[in-house]
Amino acid sequence: MIQTIIALIIKEFRQVRRDPIMLRLLFIMPLVQLLLLGYVVSTDVKLIDTAVYDFDNSRLSREYVRSLTAGEYFVASKDDLPLLNADLAFRQNRRNAVIVIPDDFSEKLENFEKVKIGMLLDGSNANTASISLGYAGLITAQFNQRVLGLNMPIQLRQKNLFNPEAESVYFMVPGIVAVLLTMITVMLSAMGIVRERERGTLEQLMVTPISTIGLILGKIIPFAIIGFVEMSIALAVGILWFDIPFAGSWGLLYFLSFIFLFTTLGVGMFISTATRTQQQAMFFAWFFTIYALLTSGFFIPIANMPHIIQLLTYLNPMRYYMTIVRGIMMKGSSIDILHKEVLAMVIFGLVVFTFSALRFSKRVK
């Protein structure tokens, strides 16, 4: 059995080596994904282009605008369109926000009357809009305090533990590790087995005395190894290039990743038993990856999802792994904190693996 499995692994790696496109893809893909997601898909909202309509144009109103743009959040420029057409700038994607300061701003402030400031936001990106609104609210509150010397009885002091700067790259990179592992292992294992079926080499293997379990392990171990290599590349780039802190235990991360691979390879194998051609397998694997990605909490917090979708996330092994990687890397979580996630992955893995292994019989249909 060992000899058989080793023969299959050697064969698989020889085939990978003979396919230069595949080889390049395997090593370039994690790098490109990391750089793309690390830099581009930052969820931090910064440098919001803001058109300022200051009808008051007093010392106080200019002071307010200055405090608004003091951080790196808002970039203010003078209005260049009549206020009635301000939405045109949104349509042309030149502006994300409009601030309107009424002409009685300083007058009312000096009389300690209530003043209303208008803010228009481009809601076509609801995420950016709500974050911008949050910043503006905070800055306005600080302005109230500082300029008017108001003494607010309740003051909120906030601090993000584990990620004090709220750098999105810190939680993106662990997420990418999870995404990469899922994509690579589901797709490679599904297509690797279907390719052999398409070419007729699987039939040739099936007339040999090879055991079903030996055949499955021999087909799957190479992809697990590739998965670990990809993961290590992603982690190395994350830590060396993006300076991501690594708070937890490396051994635990790799061990739990091994359990996670068990679930994704099981899914890949299931796909290979449910499809006949590489194209079908590819689409199926792609569909699974997207589902896993969307319901994993990678971009969208699971707590924000409608209840019924939240239920769906429990059927996604990546959801548990996402918690595990982020937990271990950012918070140094240990196994007694993560045991529920581990248990869920083990159950998912056992079910999908057993089910697929039973479907993967050595007889043709």
Binding site: A7, G200, Q204, T208, R363
Partner: protein, 245 residues
């Protein structure tokens, strides 16, 4: 010892379609048995059942004395199978393919080395063994596949249209090799639709629409049906069957 292949009323249905319809035959040890039939007659389905790849719907069968329902894994150890589709890895060299199958059949390393050299010499693979299998001309691929199927010295070799798409010279050389194998005691079970190849066989059966309509030695069949060659016998039998339908 017992016969190499014995099947009785072997049947395989796929839904409504009956691919193999109650066929019975016996293949003796050391025989070259030709399994003839038009395309779609059910030859491949029958061979797959004999190799333990496909479960029959009904009927009984033994290969090398092993039951095709329950002992298919023991059958696999004792037979070689060469499918009609080239089924070695095109992106591995000939040598790598042979080494791979040697390990799958659990040949000890030293024995595998000896076997490999023997195959290279016997099948004249010398120039081609280190080239990628996918880049070889069809005739050489066929020989390579034969070498892989023979590594574990099977006592029965199933060949499903082994010479499809191969030129006449190659076909003749291939058959010379099969003769040598048969001389050394290997039973050969060959499907083909080249009638000149059928004449090389000790006995043949002719299959039509899932049923075996004739079995016998080529010369006997020619005599019985009063034809000069097998091609005419084949056409005569098939037309007669078609007329019945």
């Amino acid at each position: 010892m017992n016969d190499a292949v014995v099947i009785e009323n072997l049947t395989r249905r796929f839904g409504q379609f009956t691919a193999v319809d109650q066929i019975s035959l016996t293949v003796r040890r050391g025989e070259i048995f030709g399994f003839l039939g038009a395309n779609g007659a059910g030859k491949t389905t029958a061979i797959r059942m004999l190799c333990g790849l496909l479960l029959p719907t009904s009927g009984a069968g033994r290969v090398n004395g092993f039951d095709i329902y329950r002992e298919n894994e023991r059958i696999k150890r004792s037979i070689g199978y060469m499918s009609q589709k080239f089924s070695l890895y095109p992106d591995l060299t000939g040598r790598e393919n042979i080494q791979f199958y040697g390990s799958i059949y659990r040949l000890p390393r030293r024995q595998l080395k000896v076997k490999l050299e023997e195959m290279i010499e016997r099948l004249e693979l010398n120039e081609f063994i280190d080239r990628l299998a996918g880049s070889l001309p069809v005739g050489w691929r066929q020989r390579l596949a034969l070498a892989a199927a023979l590594l574990h010295e099977p006592s029965i070799l199933f060949l499903d249209e082994p010479t499809g798409g191969v030129d006449p010279v190659f076909r003749r050389r291939f058959w010379d090799m099969l003769y040598l194998l048969a001389d050394s005691g290997t039973t050969l079970f060959v499907t083909t639709h080249y009638m000149d190849e059928a004449e090389f066989c000790g006995r043949i059966s002719i299959m039509h629409r899932g049923r075996i309509i004739e079995v016998g030695r080529p010369t006997d069949l020619m005599e019985k049906h009063g034809e000069k060659d097998l091609q005419d016998v084949f056409i005569k039998l098939i037309s007669r069957e078609e007329a019945h339908v």
